[in-house]
């Protein structure tokens, strides 16, 4: 298939890929880059913003905060995730599938849900705090560093547990048997054989957590109080700066991207060394535990998952409490749901329509570009491939700022439209879709497509009749995952929405900030339900594999 010099459909697809990357990625990012070097008062090029950032404590502290939060979240996620992974993959844990489902659900739970649920539990007037106070236990305030780390770690730890469990389930059992045969005890075998084998996956998962908490905007916004991190600083600066010249916000965005870039490079480097997941001839069989060991293992696993599920349960519970405005009254009912359906039905339809259109775009464009990446080995494709991965390292807040700066003027004027929201969903999710399509194709023998060509099918027809049907399952499950993330997207769209383009996650945020926990909870519960149903469909489609989920 390679080597044909004439233009065909795939040359056009490659060209389209470049157009998308330039117009909706490089152009807005370059705008941010440019503004970060422009002096606000004089309009001249200068390093002033950067110098200000690193000389004023208010600014450089947020940088340190971001790093501290990300490090602490990563550490806590590993502490929670690794034992869970170990016990559920190596021992028979009663209810392991349920634990797995709940962990995935909290991973993909709507934004802010963890943050404001912990506020309702442990905030100034939280029910859990009052209960503990009555028992004489005084906890430190939840707002700030501790709250952010708690909420983030309990949402993101499944990245660690799922990836570590994946590695633990695919290490060759005979390696551990060899270690024991050579005289090493269980603990020594774990640390000298098992742990080094899963270390690449473990660090891979941990770095994703680092990245997620570094770029997380919603949680620090709600539970951070005065403890600012880079995304919240950028947001605050942006909303207070005049939109014409978002100088300092741009500088913060660039710094945030640099951090993300370093993490991505690290992650790539580590995953390139991940060569252990070898032949699966000798998968480890889960062992049965007895006595005190069984009790301890079960307690630990259930405790971790219960803790991460707690905020979701609290949100569902409060969504059914009767309310009077922001105040919860006694009894249960559908007040909060009624409020949503009667006051802001537009929010629901917006979310569904924007996500649906975005997913259609993501799935089709992603599949076509994935095909080009996987099957066309030429210079233009080798250039396009890494460009398509850029959104992966652009935090939502940064992309939001870039979009609003770039598309608030000619030639592309999109401010205040639904299109700009759809585009953010599309761009943010595109790398995953391209990657997943390309990796599905790598498992399909290219000879099948060559056979189609050889039998007389032109390239487009071969793609439609051979490649596409074989990719279907992967595309559908990828599309459902895109649907989940689009429905829950908030960090970019929160900068771009106007009244008529408000979406569900944004309404959750606004309600939570205004103290309307009932509305926020009901909205979150709906999102949670959509997420749960979607995950169920992915699971059925992929036969219970976590791959599609971890890949997101």
């Amino acid at each position: 298939m390679s080597g044909k010099r004439h233009l065909d459909i795939w040359s056009l697809v490659t060209l389209g890929g470049f157009v998308i990357v330039v117009a909706f990625l490089l152009y807005p990012l370059f705008d941010i880059f440019r503004y970060s070097f422009i002096d606000k008062t004089t309009g001249a090029l200068s390093l002033g913003n950067y110098l200000t950032f690193f000389s004023r404590k208010y600014y450089y502290n947020t940088f340190l905060h971001s790093i501290l939060v990300a490090v602490a979240t990563t550490f806590l996620s590993t502490v929670l995730g690794l034992p869970l992974a170990f016990f559920t993959s190596r021992y028979r844990i009663f209810g392991a599938p349920l634990l797995n489902t709940l962990a995935v659900l909290s991973l993909l739970s709507p934004p802010f849900i963890g943050a404001y649920s912990w506020v309702t539990m442990l905030g100034r007037n939280g029910f859990l705090r009052r209960a503990l106070v009555s028992m004489g236990v005084i906890l430190p305030p939840i707002y700030g560093f501790g709250g952010i780390v708690l909420a983030d770690a309990l949402q993101f730890y499944p990245f660690v547990s799922l990836m570590a469990a994946g590695a633990l389930m695919t290490t060759d059992r005979s390696l551990e048997e060899a270690s024991r045969n050579l005289g090493a005890r269980s603990l020594r075998t774990f640390f000298s054989v098992t742990f080094p084998l899963i270390l690449p996956s473990l660090t891979g998962g941990a770095l994703i957590v680092f990245m997620m908490s570094l770029s997380d905007f919603g949680t620090p916004m709600i539970i951070g109080g005065n403890y600012l991190v880079l995304p919240t600083l950028a947001y605050n600066l942006y909303t207070s700066e005049v939109a014409e010249s978002p100088g300092m916000a741009s500088t913060v965005s660039i710094l945030l991207m640099v951090c993300a870039f370093v993490v991505i490079i690290l992650q790539q480097w580590i995953s390139s060394r991940r060569k252990y997941a070898s032949m699966l001839m000798n998968r480890p069989r889960p062992q049965r535990l007895h006595g005190i060991g069984a009790i301890l293992a079960h307690t630990l696993c259930f405790f971790v998952v219960a803790l991460s599920t707690l905020p979701l349960a609290v949100a569902v519970y409060y969504s059914f409490r009767n309310t009077n405005g922001p105040i919860f009254t006694s009894g249960f009912g559908f007040d909060s749901y009624k409020a949503i359906f009667f006051d802001v039905p537009r929010t629901l339809t917006n979310s569904f329509i924007f996500s649906f259109v975005a997913v259609a775009l993501i799935a089709s464009v992603g599949t076509l570009l994935g095909f080009v990446i996987a099957r066309r080995k030429r210079l233009s494709v080798h250039i396009l491939d890494p460009l398509l991965m850029i959104p992966y390292m652009v935090p939502g807040t940064v992309l939001g700022i870039g979009f609003i700066v770039a598309f608030n003027r000619k030639p592309i004027y999109l401010a205040g439209t639904g299109v700009i929201i759809i585009l953010t969903y599309f761009i943010r999710r595109l790398p995953y879709s391209v990657r997943s399509a390309a990796s599905i194709l790598k498992q399909i023998d290219p000879a099948l497509e060559e056979a189609g060509i050889n039998l007389g099918s032109p390239p487009a027809r071969t793609f439609r009749t051979i490649a596409l049907p074989l990719m279907k399952a992967g595309i559908v499950s990828g599309a459902i995952m895109s649907w989940v993330t689009s429905m829950n997207e908030s960090s970019a769209s929160i900068l771009l929405y106007v009244g008529k383009t408000m979406t569900m996650p944004i309404k959750v945020y606004l309600s939570a900030m205004d103290g309307y926990f009932g509305t926020a909870s009901a909205m979150s519960t709906i999102l949670l339900l959509v997420t749960g149903i979607s995950l169920y469909l992915v699971n059925r489609w992929m036969g219970g594999s976590n791959e599609a989920i971890v890949g997101s």
Binding site: S2, L448, N454, L455, G456, T462
Partner: protein
């Protein structure tokens, strides 16, 4: 029936030169094999004929038509793939019908041609099955039927048997040849398996490093290899390097190779004083030769390997190792490791090569008996 002509075809991948000016002609109805080790360029050549690669220079003709700029999907070559490439999301019937559908052949004619193709590969009644219900051999039959159903101008087979087990491989190669001869279709066949090539081909091109080393009928390739590469790649060849040790007498000359001296057919005069490589096949050693036989050698048996109908022996002759075949393994006891063996080599069975160029030196009696 269509011929294939490949003229001065060059192809590079980056800095790797895969084909260095290949010229070949395949006659109509011929089963022509490209034989060579992996990475020699034989598959690249086949795929260039199919249109999956575009040559950097040179021409490819199918019949009288120059197809250089014709895209693969219009070349009407029927290709059979190493990994079968049977479409897993289609039934056997749909697989075979695929090429007919692209040609807008529908309805009764399509069904008839699919059934005929399946019958030819002995898969009648398998149409409704899906590929995962078939064995490897059956899948490759589907691949063959699919390629033939479109009545292609030429059949291209890319190591079609290499994923099958040994016994099935032998069975299938016979079938492929029968079908090819029955249809009278021109076939270009790629394999790295020399036995398969010898068994199936009308003619063979031995390819190495992107260069055609020799083209010829199977027996010629085996008995008259044109150079040391062909001699050692096809079959086993014992090689001894040495030089002429005395004047020619009676059409014979003595050559000294290490501690062994052998009488061989005199090379032409222009090779006087050149270093020679002597080669002989394991089956050319004669056991228990009569007194006075030429080139009698006393050897000690180093190892022996029983292979059923024959045994191979590794002999030590004055410090040189020779591989020979023994055809009466029932009396093998006489030839146990550490024992003695006496062999003789007829001068006419010893091939001469120029040590410098590796080319075979053609001698008057050097041809096959």
């Amino acid at each position: 029936m269509t011929s294939i002509r490949i003229v001065e075809v060059e192809k590079s991948f980056g800095v790797t030169r895969a084909l260095k000016g290949v010229t070949l002609g395949v006659e109509p109805g011929e089963l022509f094999t490209l034989l060579g080790p992996s990475g020699c360029g034989k598959t690249t050549l086949l795929r260039t004929v199919a249109g999956f690669h575009r040559q950097d220079s040179g021409d490819i003709f199918l019949g009288d038509e120059l197809v250089n700029d014709m895209p693969a999907y219009r070349r009407e070559t029927g290709m059979v793939f190493q990994n079968y490439a049977v479409f897993p999301h289609m039934t056997v019937f749909e697989n075979v019908a695929y090429g007919l559908r692209t040609r807008k052949i529908r309805g009764a004619e399509m069904s008839a041609r699919v059934e005929a193709a399946l019958k030819r590969v002995r898969l009648e009644g398998y149409g409704a099955r899906t590929p995962d219900q078939l064995s490897g051999g059956q899948q490759q039959r589907v691949g063959l039927a699919r390629a033939m159903a479109i009545e292609p101008r030429v059949l291209l087979l890319d190591e079609p048997l290499s994923n099958l087990d040994a016994k099935l491989r032998v069975e299938m190669r016979g079938e492929i040849r029968d079908i090819q001869k029955h249809l009278g279709i021109t076939a270009l066949y790629v394999t790295h398996d020399q036995e398969e090539a010898l068994a199936i081909s009308d003619r063979i091109a031995v390819v190495e490093s992107g260069i055609v080393q020799q083209v010829g009928a199977p027996w010629a390739i085996y008995k008259e290899p044109s150079n040391l590469f062909v001699a050692t790649f096809v079959g086993t060849m014992n090689l001894l390097e040495g030089e002429v040790a005395g004047p020619a007498e009676g059409g014979r000359v003595r050559v000294r190779a290490g501690n062994i001296e052998l009488r061989v057919v005199s090379p032409p005069a222009e090779f006087a004083g050149r270093r020679l490589v002597l080669g002989f096949r394991p089956e050319d050693a004669r056991f228990e030769p009569p007194e006075g036989a030429e080139n009698r050698l006393d050897a000690s048996v180093r190892t022996r390997t029983f292979l059923g109908s024959i045994a191979t022996l590794e002999l030590d002759v004055a410090g040189t190792t020779l591989i020979v075949e023994y055809h009466r393994p029932e009396s093998l006891d006489e030839l146990r490791a550490g024992g003695l063996a006496r062999i003789a080599l007829a001068p006419a069975s010893i091939l001469l090569f120029d040590a410098e160029t590796g080319r075979r030196i053609v001698t008057p009696a050097g041809a096959a008996p």
